[in-house]
C-alpha cells in the first residue's frame, strides 16, 4: 500500500470514529456506562502511551506516572477555577493566592509543561540509575510530590489535602478523544522519527547506542520529559473527567494500573496500549460489575462468592494470568493498522478457502 493511500485510510478511519461517537452521543442516554468507559479509556490511553514511550520504546523503567499526572491535574485545576468560585473552594485559605483563571486548553498545556519541567529537574540525577533502581526512585519521587501537595503550608496554592473543584469540565466524549488523539498522534510521529529510532537503539543496547554517537543522557532525558509532558496533560483531562481532584487519588496503585495496561497491550505497541486501556477500563468499570452484585442469579441458581470487591479479585487474577502466560500482551511490539487487518482477513479467507477445497476433495 502506498504511503498516501495509507494516510487516506487512517484519516478516514479517524473521521469515521469521531462521527460514530457523535452519533452515539445523540442517540444514547448520556448516563450510559459506555460513555464512562470511552471517556476514561481515552484518558488512560494517553497516559498508557506516554508510559509506553518510556518503558517500551526507550527501555527506561519508570514508575512516576501518577506523580506527573498529579502535577498536570493540579496545574489545570489551580489555573482554571473561576475567580468567583475560589472563595468557596479555598475556604480554609482565604480564597487562595491566585485570583485569575485561564482558558481550559491553555491550562491543559500548562499542566503538561509543569510536569515536563519537574521531569527535567529530577531527570538530571535519576536517569543515571539502572532499571529497577530507576523504577523505585521515580516511584519515590511520585510519593514525595503527593506529600508536598497535601502540605498545609502550600494550602493557598494547592488547597492542602482538601478537594479542588468547580473548574471547567467536559460534557462530550469527543473532547477527551480529540485531545488524547492529538497527543497520541504526536507521540507516534516522534516514535517514527529519527529520535524514535535513537530511543529504540537505547532500549536495545545502551553501550552500542552510545558508540553510535547517541548521547545517552540527552536522549533519555528527552524521552522522560516528553513522556511526563503527556502524562501531565492526561492528568489535566482526568481532573476534567472526575470534576474534583485530591492529591490522595494519585497513589502508586494508579501507576501500577497504568503499567498493567501497558503490559496487557504489549510493551512497545502504541495501538496495543490504546486497545488495552479501553478493555481495562471497560472490564473494571462495566463488564465485570455483575461480579459485585450479591444477588446475581443464573436461572434460579444463586451464584456464590459474589459480593463487593469480587470483580477486582477476578480482574487481578486475569491480569496475573496474562502477565505469566501471555507475556507479549495483546499486540506484542506490533501495531494495529489497516494493512495488518487486511492481511489478517486475507489469511483467514485463504485458510478457509484451503479448508473448503480440502473438504471438497474428500
Amino acid at each position: 500500500m502506498s504511503k498516501n493511500k495509507k494516510m487516506v485510510w487512517n484519516v478516514s478511519l479517524i473521521v469515521a470514529l469521531l462521527v460514530l461517537l457523535f452519533v452515539l452521543e445523540q442517540i444514547m442516554p448520556s448516563g450510559s456506562m459506555l460513555f464512562t468507559v470511552l471517556k476514561k479509556g481515552a484518558i488512560y490511553a494517553l497516559v498508557a502511551v506516554s508510559m509506553n514511550l518510556l518503558n517500551g520504546f526507550t527501555g527506561l523503567f519508570s514508575l512516576g506516572q501518577a506523580g506527573f499526572m498529579l502535577l498536570g491535574a493540579y496545574t489545570y485545576a489551580i489555573l482554571t477555577i473561576p475567580a468567583q468560585s475560589r472563595g468557596s473552594v479555598y475556604q480554609y485559605y482565604d480564597g487562595g493566592i491566585i485570583h485569575f483563571a485561564i482558558p481550559a486548553p491553555l491550562a491543559l498545556i500548562a499542566g503538561g509543561l509543569i510536569a515536563a519541567a519537574f521531569a527535567f529537574l529530577i531527570g538530571l540525577p535519576v536517569l543515571r540509575l539502572k532499571s529497577d533502581y530507576l523504577a523505585i526512585a521515580t516511584l519515590g519521587f511520585a510519593e514525595i510530590i503527593r506529600a508536598v501537595f497535601q502540605w498545609d503550608k502550600l494550602g493557598p496554592l494547592t488547597n492542602g489535602s482538601n478537594l479542588l473543584r468547580s473548574f471547567p469540565t467536559f460534557q462530550s466524549v469527543l473532547y477527551p478523544f480529540i485531545v488524547s488523539g492529538i497527543c497520541i498522534a504526536l507521540i507516534v510521529m516522534l516514535i517514527n522519527s529519527t529520535y524514535g529510532r535513537a530511543f529504540k537503539a537505547i532500549r536495545d543496547d545502551e553501550i552500542a547506542a552510545e558508540a553510535m554517537g547517541i548521547n545517552l543522557a540527552h536522549h533519555k532525558r528527552l524521552a522522560f520529559v516528553i513522556s511526563s509532558f503527556f502524562a501531565g496533560i492526561s492528568g489535566g483531562l482526568l481532573a476534567m473527567y472526575q470534576t474534583t481532584i485530591q492529591a490522595s487519588m494519585f497513589k502508586s496503585a494508579m501507576t501500577y494500573e497504568i503499567l498493567l495496561i501497558v503490559v496487557i497491550g504489549g510493551i512497545g505497541s502504541v495501538t496495543g496500549s490504546c486497545i488495552s486501556s479501553f478493555l481495562f477500563i471497560a472490564c473494571s468499570e462495566w463488564w465485570l460489575r455483575f461480579l459485585d452484585n450479591e444477588n446475581f442469579y443464573i436461572g434460579s441458581f444463586h451464584v456464590p462468592l459474589l459480593r463487593a470487591g469480587f470483580r477486582k479479585v477476578v480482574f487481578s487474577i486475569v491480569i496475573m494470568a496474562m502477565v505469566l502466560f501471555y507475556r507479549q500482551g495483546i499486540m506484542g511490539t506490533k501495531e494495529f493498522s489497516v494493512e495488518a487487518l487486511q492481511g489478517f482477513f486475507k489469511k483467514l479467507l485463504r485458510r478457509k478457502g484451503v479448508k473448503e477445497a480440502g473438504d471438497a476433495h474428500e
Binding site: L129, L139, W151, I207, S252, A253, L260, G309, K312, L324
Partner: protein, 294 residues
C-alpha cells in the same frame, strides 16, 4: 535532659518502628541479593499476615493463632514465588518485576474482597500489648521487645547464613546465580528458602507492627513495604546488617520528623533519602559494586 525526656517517646517509637522495618527489609534484601528482583508483593504479604491474625484470633486462642499466622504467611510467600516468579526465571528482569506488581495488586484486591474494604481491628496480644512505664514515659511493652527480638533474629539469621549448608548455597547464589547452578546447587530450593525466611521475618514483623496500630486495611502493607525497601537500599542491597541499620535509621528519622510536627513529610522524607542515596552512593552503606562488561 529536658530535650531527652521530651523526645524520648519519639526516639523509642523510632527504634521500635525501625526494628519492624528491619524484619521486613531483610526479606527484600535477601530476595534482591539472589534474584535481583524488587519483590513488590512483600509489603502485601506483610498485610496478609496482619489479616490472617485478625481472622484467626476470632476463632481460636492466641497461642494457636500466632503460630498458625506465621505458617500461613510463610506458605503464601512460598506460593507466590512458585507461581509468579519461578516461571519467569529466564525472562527479562522487567517481566518479573511486573509480575511482582501483579501479585501485589492481586493480594490487595483479595484483601479488599475479604474485608469488604473496612479496617479490621487488630486483636490485643496479651503481655506484649500491655502498657509499661520507662523513664517516666508510658508505652506498650512491644516498643521495648521489638528491637531486642529483631537483633536476636538477625544474629540467628547471620549465623544461619554463615555456618549452614543452605546459608552457604544462598551466598553462592547471590554471588553468581548461573555458576552456582552449574556447581550443583539446587537453586529452586535456595530461592524457596530465601522466600520462606523473608516471609517468616515479615510475619513476626507484622504482629509487632500492628500491635501499635488500630487496624489492618488492604493497602496498609504498601507503605511499610516501600520503606523497608528503602532501608534495604540504604544499607546496600543484598547486605543483611546493612538493611537492619538502614531500617533503624529510617525508623528513627521518621519518628523525629513526626515529633517536630511535619507528619505529612515523614513518608516523603524516606523517599527523598532514597533518591539522595541512589544518586550519591548507589551501592548503599555496605553494598558491592557491579560493573557491566563491554
Amino acid at each position: 535532659m529536658d530535650w531527652i525526656t521530651r523526645n524520648l517517646p519519639y526516639l523509642m517509637a523510632g527504634i521500635s518502628v525501625g526494628g519492624q522495618y528491619a524484619l521486613i527489609a531483610i526479606g527484600y534484601t535477601m530476595v534482591y541479593g539472589i534474584l535481583r528482583l524488587i519483590n513488590f508483593a512483600h509489603g502485601d504479604i506483610f498485610m496478609a499476615a496482619g489479616l490472617i491474625l485478625v481472622y484467626s484470633a476470632t476463632v481460636m486462642p492466641m497461642y494457636i493463632a500466632i503460630p498458625l499466622m506465621i505458617i500461613l504467611t510463610v506458605l503464601i510467600g512460598f506460593m507466590v514465588e512458585r507461581v509468579a516468579y519461578k516461571p519467569l526465571r529466564t525472562a527479562p528482569r522487567m517481566s518479573i518485576m511486573i509480575s511482582a506488581i501483579g501479585v501485589s495488586y492481586l493480594l490487595q484486591n483479595l484483601a479488599l474482597y475479604v474485608t469488604g474494604g473496612l479496617s479490621q481491628q487488630y486483636p490485643a496480644i496479651p503481655w506484649i500489648s500491655d502498657t509499661i512505664t520507662i523513664f517516666g514515659t508510658t508505652t506498650k511493652r512491644v516498643t521495648v521487645i521489638t528491637p531486642v527480638l529483631t537483633l536476636v533474629l538477625v544474629v540467628l539469621l547471620v549465623l544461619l547464613i554463615k555456618y549452614t549448608k543452605i546459608g552457604m548455597a544462598m551466598r553462592a547464589a547471590s554471588r553468581d546465580f548461573e555458576t552456582s547452578q552449574l556447581m550443583g546447587i539446587k537453586i529452586n530450593s535456595v530461592v524457596s528458602m530465601t522466600f520462606i525466611i523473608g516471609t517468616f521475618l515479615a510475619a513476626i514483623g507484622s504482629f509487632l507492627f500492628f500491635t501499635n496500630y488500630t487496624g489492618v486495611t488492604p493497602t496498609v502493607g504498601a507503605m511499610p513495604g516501600l520503606k523497608a525497601f528503602v532501608a534495604a537500599v540504604f544499607g546496600g542491597i543484598g547486605s543483611i546488617p546493612g538493611a537492619v541499620i538502614g531500617a533503624f535509621i529510617i525508623g528513627i528519622c521518621e519518628n523525629i520528623i513526626k515529633g517536630v510536627g511535619l507528619t505529612t513529610f515523614s513518608d516523603a522524607f524516606t523517599f527523598a533519602l532514597l533518591i539522595v542515596i541512589l544518586i550519591a552512593k548507589p551501592t548503599g552503606l555496605f553494598g558491592e559494586k557491579e560493573a557491566d562488561k563491554v
